[in-house]
Each structure stands twice: as C-alpha cells, then as structure tokens.
C-alpha cells in the first residue's frame, strides 16, 4: 500500500464546491451505477439527474390527511399557496392531489383554483371505481390518481378477486377516464410486495398499450407505491423490494419513461426519504411527498426533505424559496395547532440548536463549523444554543449575543458573560437542577448584567 504524504497546507481546504454553505451541500456523482438484473448488468447514470426534469409531487391533502384530523378549507388553501411559493416558478412542486369525497374537499379545490397559481397543479385521488371517476369529471380535473392495488395481499385478501378480475376492473376505469379526457395515474399499491412478473409488468404493459396512441398529456402515469415501506435502495437487492430493479422494469419492459414514473413511499423502516431520492436518481422523475412527512402510519417522504435533496442534486436553488419551509412550520404549529418534534430536520425547534459547549465554541468562532448551511439566510433560522450545564461559557456568549442582536466587534466576549455562566453552573451544582435553563431566565440574567444593551435590544424588537 502506497502511503500518502501529509499535505501541510497554509490555507484550509473547505471543499466549497460541495459545501458552499450559501446553499445546502451538493451531491456529486462520479460514475454510473451497476445493477444485475436477470443475470445482466444494467447501468444507471445518476449524473443525468442534473438535466432531467425531476420534481416533487404532493399528497399532503390526501395521504397526509389520513394521518390526522381533516384540515379546514382555509388551512389547505393557505398551505397550497405556500407550496406554490416554495416550489417557485419552475414548478419544483409540480402537483398536489385532493380527495373529492366531501363538500370540504371540493370547496377547497375551488378555493385553490381561484388563487390562479400555475403550480402545484391540482389532481384528484380516487378508487378505481366508476362512481369515483364521476366525481373527477364533475370537478373538471384533468388528471386523477386511481388506486390499482397490485399485490396478492390486496387482490386476494382485500378485494377478494382473482388477478384477472382485478386487472379487468382497473382497465375499465382507466378506459373510462381516457374517454372522459381525464389523464389516468395508476397507483400500483403495494408494488414492493407484489409479483412483478406475474401481475405488475403485464398490467403496466396493458396500460401502456391502452394509451400509446393518446396525445402525450393523456398517456398513463405510473405511481410506484411502496405502501408498507418495504422498498430497498441498495444495489442488487432481490425483487420485489429493489427500487432500482422496479424502475428498470417499468422503463425497459413496460416502456414507461421517467417523465411518467413517480415514487410514493412510506417510512415503516426509516427508509422513506432515501428511498425517494433513490427513485429519483435511478430514473423516476416524480417524488411524491407530504408536508413534514405526515401520512398514513409512519408517514411519507417529507416534502421539505425532497426540496433540499432537489437542491443538492441540481446544485442550485432553482427558484426555490426555502424560507417558506419555516413559514409552513410556523403556520402548522400556530394555526393548524399540530406539533413538530423538536429534533425534526430543518423545522424542529432544535434542528440547529447545540447544547454542547464545545460545539457552541465552534459556532461562536465560525458558524460554518456547526451549521449545515446558512440557515439564517435560507430558512430565517439562525443557529441557536440551548443552555444547560453542558453548554459552557461559549454557549452563554452565543445565546447572549444572539439575543442582544450584537454583531462584529460589538459582540460580548467570554469574560463579559462569565457571570451569567457562573449563575448557570450554580443552578446545577448548588441547586441540583436537572432541566435546561429557560429563555425567560436567561433574559432576566441579561437584563441584570447588561441593562443598557438589554433596553436597546428591547426597543429595537
């Protein structure tokens, strides 16, 4: 093994091409990925993701609502408008789907349409039943998802059908949709637990033949539904759990191009986000998501995570306004009155809060050391420190300076705030405290030790 000599450089190598800090870190691929399928090596080129029209689709108002009490019309309309702002003019958040069953569902679609926003486009979600299709037609929607379950768990045990009966029933509704000018999007429910060669591929091939003479905007879309979160992202995993193989079969055996392929995951095995991103890089252009990942049981790919992944893969913001993610979180907690776990990425109370003194010390010297990107600028969320017996004088200095809004040479040094740190440590060592110091308590200390700066900060606020 050849030894590599130490390069004792004069300037740090901060790898800014990958970690620019002004945007989320980039993901760069260096070569193709190989997957063995039917004894042959299939090649996928993840570098193409930069040029492909990958995008995010949303099911917050459908799958998302299966995990919580119904949203009001006003709430959905506000969230819809924020999705539009988040995804920008290029429509990174391309579509969102709605139930059509209640008056509230239908009134919400009308209210969202009245906003006149280009994106996200509004689509429906129905069971593959004629009665449900009527609702789509009545609402004048141009596209609807329809539930076409494809594992034998569903066909035999839930629907009490044979495969032939199930396929015939699905095709009838798809044909009726086409006759009505509604684009069908077939949701292959439970596909990661289905017999691919015995049912899924024959069914999708039939679907493709059914719409091959249709204009492009009417050709069938396929949503790959990993209903129970069984999908696996690793190379060379056996079917039906392999996401790479599933996408390859859709494209190569069924003729469905990436533009008409979508991934819909669930988080039962903690794989939901990476599985979604895997589907993107292996060739499905659409990634179906919900706000904060809320969805049936363990949830779906989080929309805000997909947006971050999009930026990482594309290498730029592409018109995305990330600050809307913070607005959505505030709205969600204040108006919808739902909670977000404190450690939840990008929006949780503590996502960029450090409690360790050594991290606080790093943050105080250079924010880039312990921040994932410029969260202050991109998310309107400056890095923060929570004060405990572990946060150290560095932590107190960071907290006090942020609270007082001090910049540059104005910022208070460790020696100026050390009396507050002594008070903090006395709380734990002398008073036997076990909880974190509250913001109110710290504010009181700042008022006591820095009355003029405190008054100035308060008047500014």
């Amino acid at each position: 093994m050849d030894g590599r000599p130490l390069q004792d450089v004069q300037q740090p190598n901060l790898l800014k091409d990958i970690f620019p800090h002004t945007i989320p870190p980039r993901i760069r691929f260096e070569d193709v990925i190989e997957e063995t399928i039917d004894g042959r090596v299939a090649k996928f080129d993840p570098r193409r993701v930069i040029d492909r029209d990958i995008h995010v689709t949303d099911t917050t108002f459908r799958d998302g609502q299966q995990a919580r009490p119904p949203y009001t019309k006003e709430q959905m309309t506000r969230i819809y408008a924020m999705f539009s702002r988040l995804g920008g003019e290029r429509g990174v958040i391309r579509e969102t789907e709605f139930f059509l069953y209640t008056k509230n569902d239908r009134a919400t679609i009308d209210a969202c349409r009245e906003l006149g926003l280009r994106y996200p486009k509004i689509t429906g979600w129905i069971r593959a039943e004629m009665g449900d299709l009527r609702l789509v037609k009545e609402m004048g929607l141009r596209e609807t998802g329809m539930l076409t379950s494809c594992s034998d768990y569903h066909i035999f045990h839930k629907q009490k059908q044979t495969r032939k009966e199930a396929m015939a029933a699905y095709l009838r509704v798809v044909e009726a949709a086409l006759e009505s000018g509604v684009r069908p999007r077939c949701h292959l429910e439970d596909v990661t637990r289905a017999d691919l060669k015995g049912f899924v591929i024959p069914f999708v091939q039939r679907l493709e033949r059914l719409t091959e003479k249709q204009p492009e905007h009417m050709r069938v879309k396929i949503r790959l539904c990993d209903t129970m979160g069984f999908g696996v992202s690793f190379p060379n995993v056996a079917e039906p759990r392999s996401i790479p193989k599933l996408i390859w079969r859709m494209k190569e055996e069924c003729g469905i191009p990436g533009e008409r392929l979508e991934w819909h995951g669930h988080n039962d095995f903690h794989k939901v986000h990476v599985n979604g991103a895997t589907a993107w890089i292996y060739g499905a252009d659409a990634l179906n998501t919900t706000l904060f990942g809320l969805g049936e049981r363990t949830g779906n790919p989080p929309l805000e995570g997909a947006v971050m992944e999009y930026i990482a893969l594309k290498g730029g913001l592409c018109g995305i306004d990330l600050s809307v993610i913070t607005d959505l979180a505030k709205y969600f907690q204040k108006e919808v009155r739902a909670s977000i776990p404190a450690n939840y990425p990008f929006v949780g109370r503590d996502f960029n809060t450090t409690r360790a003194g050594i991290h606080a010390g790093g943050l105080r010297r250079n924010e880039e050391i312990y921040t994932i990107f410029d969260t202050r600028k991109l998310l309107n969320r400056p890095p923060r420190v929570a004060i405990t017996d572990k946060s150290g004088t560095d932590g107190v200095a960071l907290w006090v300076n942020e609270f007082l809004g001090l910049k540059g040479k104005e910022r208070l040094s460790l020696t100026k705030v050390v009396k507050i740190q002594r008070w903090v440590m006395d709380q734990y060592e002398k008073e036997g405290r076990l909880t974190a110091i509250s913001e109110e308590e710290l504010e009181e200390q700042v008022r006591h030790y820095f009355p003029e700066l405190y008054a100035r900060a308060k008047s500014r606020a």
């Binding site: 150290g392 004088t393 020696t415 100026k416 050390v418 009396k419 740190q421 002594r422 440590m425």
Partner: protein, 81 residues
C-alpha cells in the same frame, strides 16, 4: 506600572479567584494543574484581571497564558511602565 506591583496584583487576584493563600502561590505555578483552575474559573480569572487592570483583553491570547509568571509577563508587556 512596575513589574513588582503587577506581580503583587496578579497574585492577589489569583488567590482571591482560585481561593488560595497568596503566600503559597509561586511564579511557576500552572493555573490549571497547580491551582485548580477549570475552564470556567480560567475565564473568571481573566475577567478579574480585566477588572483589576482596567483592560479589555483579547480573550484568546489571555486564555493561552498558563502560569502565574506568564501572567505577570503578559501584563508587564501590556501595561506601560
């Protein structure tokens, strides 16, 4: 300020902050190893020196000083004689 006066004041402040008898403090005493200054006490000590000598110190430079004699040298250089 003369070096002797600086030394006397450094020892007095050190003894007060680290709760030690000033007569037992020697120039080669290490603040952490010999006098028990942990990281918080070290910062408190620097703060006390700032107050004693009416200075705004560069805290990183000040915290690099490790011995009593080093502190005397540090302030002798900073404060005109």
């Amino acid at each position: 300020m003369k070096r002797d006066e600086i030394a006397e004041r450094v020892i007095r402040v050190t003894a007060r902050e680290l709760k030690t008898n000033p007569e037992q403090i020697k120039f080669d005493h290490h603040f952490a190893h010999d006098l028990g200054a942990d990281s918080l006490k070290s910062i408190e000590l620097v703060a006390a020196f700032e107050e004693e000598f009416d200075l705004d110190l560069n805290e990183e430079e000040a915290l690099r000083v490790q011995t009593v004699g080093g502190a005397v040298d540090f302030f002798t250089e900073l404060i005109p004689g």
